[in-house]
């Protein structure tokens, strides 16, 4: 199959591995080891063992979510109608674009693996910087799923409602600030989206 030929492409494989285990991976590993030594010195080996056991449980919990979230993001990345995205949340989308992004962030299901994977898709699909910031801020502060699963049981329904209400205007504000900040913003992910079939 022609379209799976990349699986045998050595340069591609090397690139993926270099990305996975490059300098930043070793930076992370060194950080983890340093905090481990610190925890060992301050809290003792029992707490360290407990923390590691918790990590393992978390990891087992996390992996299926990451796999599903990345599959969703990869599918959307290929299927998303990019031209329509640009008019919906592109540079000239104005306040409406920020509100659409806010709504999308609030209803995005799943944890950071799905939200950030979708954000990366939006970033290469012509969404403007304000919409990107509004989307991820809305996911973080207004995410309905998080409010239902975490705020309500841990803090009570009234608190959850209050937190939702005070957070309502904030993603749009963050998006407006992002549009006005004189900062250079370069999308990291430069891999071009796959060419659509001409008759699609």
């Amino acid at each position: 199959m022609q379209s799976f030929a990349f699986l045998r492409d050595r340069t591609w494989i090397r690139g993926v591995l270099a990305n996975a285990f490059g300098p930043s991976f070793w930076g992370f590993a060194a950080g983890a080891a340093a905090f481990g030594v610190l925890a060992m010195a301050i809290k003792g080996p029992d707490i360290v063992a407990e923390a590691l056991a918790d990590d393992l449980r978390l990891l087992i919990d996390l992996m299926p979510r990451v796999l599903v979230a990345l599959s969703i993001a990869a599918l959307i990345w290929v299927m998303l109608p990019r031209e329509r995205m640009a008019s919906l949340v592109g540079e000239d989308s104005g306040m409406r674009g920020l509100m659409v992004a806010t709504l999308a962030g609030a209803i995005t299901p799943g944890g950071p693996s799905s939200a950030y994977a979708l954000l990366a898709v939006l970033a290469v699909s012509g969404a403007d910087r304000g919409a990107l910031v509004a989307y991820i801020t809305a996911w973080a502060t207004l995410g309905l799923q998080r409010i239902l699963i975490w705020d309500v049981p841990f803090m009570g329904a009234e608190f959850a409602l209050l937190r939702f209400a005070v957070s309502l205007p904030l993603p749009v504000i963050a998006g407006l600030v992002a549009r006005r900040l004189p900062l250079e913003f370069r999308v990291k992910d430069t891999s071009p989206p796959p060419a659509k079939k001409a008759d699609a």
């Binding site: 978390l58 969703i72 803090m155 992002a178």
Partner: protein, 172 residues
Amino acid sequence: MSVGMLSLVVLLAILAALAVRQGEDFGPVLRRFIEQFGMLVPRMLCALIAAGFIAVLIPKEQIAALLGSEAGILALPVAAAAGLIVPAGPVIAFAIAAVFAKSGASTPALITFITSWSIFAAHRILIYEIPLLGASFLRLRVLSAMVVPLLAGLIALFIARYSAFGEAMPLQ
């Protein structure tokens, strides 16, 4: 299976069915999947372990003492800073919020803490944001959203002057 996982699986099934119906090419889909997997998962392992250690090192009780309603508006920056240093998912963050609430933290302080954590959680930045979006996006987002936790706390503080609605009832 949790609600979140269930909704993700349903979404995936719908998208996959759509892709098959439209006759999409799955080659690029798999390629994108593998590239992002490689970018995320090895770093995620390390960050997860580091976050677990940091979570046990945070002095929860000492911070809680600074968040009471007598601290008023001054509790907000402390709460925002506390949110920054919780490098862990909702299980740990909300467990810490419940500890704060039980030690008498004010509602605006709790809202600021949760908002700050949800926007700036360090593990999310390290595991997802930098690998997937890059440092220039991180800088833009952090500067744009910096005031958001404090704004949330200020609005809550304003509401608290008129109504006691929304007081936390932490899980025991």
